[in-house]
Amino acid sequence: MLRNLPKDWLGAGFVVVLGLAILIFVPVYFDLFEVLQMTKYVVLALFVLSLAYIWGFGGILSFGQAGFFGLGGYIFAVSSINMGQTTLPFLIAIGLCVVFAAALGYFMFYGRLNDVYLGVVTLVVTLILYKLINHTAGPEYIIGTARLGGFNGIPSIPIMTLPWQPDQEMEPAQMFQYFMAILIVVYVLLHILIKSKFGRVAISIRENEVRSSLLGYDVRLYKLCIFMIGGAIGGGAGAMWASYQTFVDPNIFSLEWSAKCLIWVIAGGVGTLIGPIIGVIALEYLSFQLGQTDFINNLIVLGTILILVVLLMPKGLFPTFRDIFLKLWRRGGGQGGGQGDGGRLG
């Protein structure tokens, strides 16, 4: 029966099963510190999915995805401190990030900005937010009971609660499972979206914008929707990050975060969903391990690894290893032909 399933659904199914196994067994077999580390990877995986989707499946290269990550974090911080709960603030953070993406995207896509200017605008908007939040240290910058705190950031952000248990903060293991469940749901929804008519048209726009328009598709509207979806995911990840850290500061808007997000996608493989997730986990784990050593600066090692990945595996880690595996499988008599997460329409 599995043989009749399309190969990409088989791949997605495997990812989901693996994700569920991780969700169930990690809190059982790993200690608290490791569970917290993995929770961080899960949040960052969701963040990287926001760019992996809009870039890989919509052709929108945003240099400012940290803008949504930061906005989500700050909106969640302010609203959860004021409301004394986390479920509604989580939804508000996602909703306002969608609104922000709609406003910004409207000017970019309906203003027919080309790819280069789009990259510049997204980057500049993020840096403006960074500067803006940095200058809110005074006591007058207060929303309800939440002081923005400028460069000091906002401390004591509530830990997430389960929607049906609003008075009970999650334990680290619960938080890991909750975030992991969100990651799996977002992954599945994106996979369904990519395989839908909307997703197919989005890929066609990525491939050839002029022809898509000449087929009668409103390229501006599609791109706007894709950008809003990316904004929602980025904003949601930001809210989870703020709750995970119980703290958020303006550095969340920094160039470093936007650049890291791009690097994770490039290293993992543009045009796939699982690749960037692998990219973020591999590089963050490596960064963490190198950070524990004294003999060499971890940024130098990371930079070297990234250069090597780009030069030796321009498609990224996941597509390269997938292709090698398929080649070996075919040579061994298997029936290959995987196409990644949706680079093709068929």
């Binding site: 066609s204 022809r211 328009s213 000449l214 087929l215 009668g216 598709y217 409103d218 329409l345």
Partner: protein, 243 residues
């Protein structure tokens, strides 16, 4: 064939700085008509097509399609009204199979089942069933032309603009294309830009000659082919005046 005018341009002009690519063109096509548009390189044929499809905003004049003004409308809105274009250089999704290219066009206004039916119909109509599963980026130029035509037709347009559709085709492919275009005329209107005179003789009854952005002369094939000044224009000699 109905005598109703489907497309009419009036004083249509397109300037690029000091260069006038399309100059006060008055042009009309009837429902079901197959019209050839000829002229030397730089006559403004492709620019004229781009004005019709909204890829370029005309500097002046108007375009009426089925009674609706097209000036100021976006490309996708114009296409949705029923104008399809096969561009001079085949404009396809190179990473996709021919079938997927055609299906993308049909899918805009059809469900999945109907899309597959239309895709199969188009593959058969253009006789490219053998190319269905081949990635179009790896096809020969002539084959790409055929795939693009099938893709455009899959959108069920009322008017098809074909910019040099026979370029790069083998004799057999050209013959098949001419047959298909003759077959389509009547069901839809076609404007064909072409340089291949034999191909034009095979398909057209009416020809419009563009020269330096203006309509130089219009008439039936025999009259246009015999026209001395048209021959001079094609041979590169200067025409003394517009007809």
């Amino acid at each position: 064939m109905s005598e109703q005018i489907l497309l009419a341009t009036s004083d249509l002009s397109m300037r690029f700085g000091g260069v006038v690519a399309v100059d006060q063109v008055d042009f009309a096509v009837k429902t079901g008509e197959l019209r050839c548009l000829i002229g030397p390189n730089g006559a403004g044929k492709s620019t004229f097509f781009k004005c019709l499809t909204g890829q370029l905003k005309p500097t002046a004049g108007s375009v009426l399609f089925a009674g609706q003004e097209l000036s100021g409308q976006t490309t996708h809105d114009i296409v949705r009204l029923g104008i399809g274009i096969k561009t001079q250089v085949p404009n396809l999704f190179d990473g996709l199979a021919a079938r997927e290219n055609i299906a993308l066009s049909a899918r805009r206004s059809n469900n999945q089942k109907r899309t597959e039916e239309i895709t199969d119909e188009m593959l058969e109509l253009i006789a490219i069933t053998g190319l269905a599963n081949r990635e179009v980026g790896h096809l020969a130029h002539g084959e790409r032309q055929l795939v693009e035509l099938a893709m455009v037709l899959a959108g069920r347009p009322r008017l098809v603009l074909l910019d040099e559709p026979a370029a790069g085709m083998t004799a057999d492919e050209r013959g098949r294309l001419a047959e298909v275009l003759r077959q389509l005329a009547g069901d839809m209107s076609l404007i064909v830009v072409e340089h291949d005179m034999q191909f034009i003789r095979d398909i057209a009854t009416e020809i419009t000659v563009l020269h330096r952005g203006r309509v130089f002369i219009e008439g039936d094939v025999a009259a246009i082919m015999a026209h001395t000044e048209v021959q001079e224009i094609y041979l590169g000699k200067e025409a003394n005046g517009a007809a």
